[in-house]
């Protein structure tokens, strides 16, 4: 399953909290024209670097599917960042 929601949170020194929720699938749909343009570019890159395009697509897919559950929290004093992939 590809990631559904990416959360980026930030806590500033003045204690203001901001959270950005990125729904992956709708964003991908919006960006799909750009992704269509990126496909031939990726294909050419694979051919130039002699990488199997099928293997590259499979590997990228596996990497994307493995991402849900990733959570990174960094706190420094009163500043904090959170990146969460669900």
């Amino acid at each position: 399953m590809i990631p559904q929601l990416v959360t980026v949170g930030r806590c500033r020194p003045d204690a203001r909290r901001r959270r950005l929720y990125v729904p992956v699938l709708p964003v991908l749909l919006v960006l799909s024209p750009l992704l269509l343009l990126a496909v031939p570019v990726g294909l050419v890159a694979c051919l130039v670097t002699r990488v199997s395009p099928v293997g590259a697509v499979r590997g990228t897919g596996q990497l994307l599917c493995a991402l849900p559950g990733t959570r990174i929290e960094i706190e420094q004093g009163r500043t904090a960042w959170l990146i969460s992939v669900r």
């Binding site: 990488v51 960094i74 004093g77």
Partner: protein, 143 residues
């Protein structure tokens, strides 16, 4: 099916006890079995799903507060990463290996295969690394 349970079912089949009584007796048997762990088969340990790295650093001089880093990554991620890395062309791998050697890390990435990372992750399940220092603490573990 064990002998006692079979006897209860025989009694039920012969009409010597009612279904309710049979249920109570089987329930009592199961409770007894769960209370005696030496007879019960050991439960398999749940497989860890995540690799966690937690770093806590105390407030140093000149710093604006204590630092904390908490990273949780699914164990599937390194597996997928190694599979993707296996697509790297040999000439690029040679350059990376040369760079690693120059940096004092003589690792041949061409020898890194998905099955190796599988074995590594299998063994990683039981690994816990604790580094305690007056100024901080580092914990690496799987959960």
């Amino acid at each position: 099916m064990n002998e006692q349970r079979r006897k209860i079912l025989d009694l039920l089949a012969n009409g010597k006890i009612t279904a309710d009584e049979a249920e109570r007796l089987i329930g009592a048997l199961e409770r007894e079995r769960s209370e005696s762990p030496q007879t019960a088969a050991p439960r398999p340990k749940p497989r860890p799903k995540y690799l966690r790295v937690v770093v806590n650093a105390a407030d140093g001089p000149g710093a604006d507060g204590a630092s904390r880093v908490d990273v949780q990554i699914p164990l599937q991620l390194p597996r997928a990463g190694v599979r993707l890395a296996s697509l790297v062309p040999p000439q690029a791998l040679a350059r990376i290996n040369a760079g690693l050697s120059r940096s004092g890390v003589p690792i041949d990435l061409a020898e890194l295969k998905p099955q190796h990372i599988e074995e590594f992750i299998e063994q990683l399940d039981d690994v816990t690394v604790d580094v305690d220092d007056p100024d901080g603490q580092v914990r690496v573990f799987c959960e």
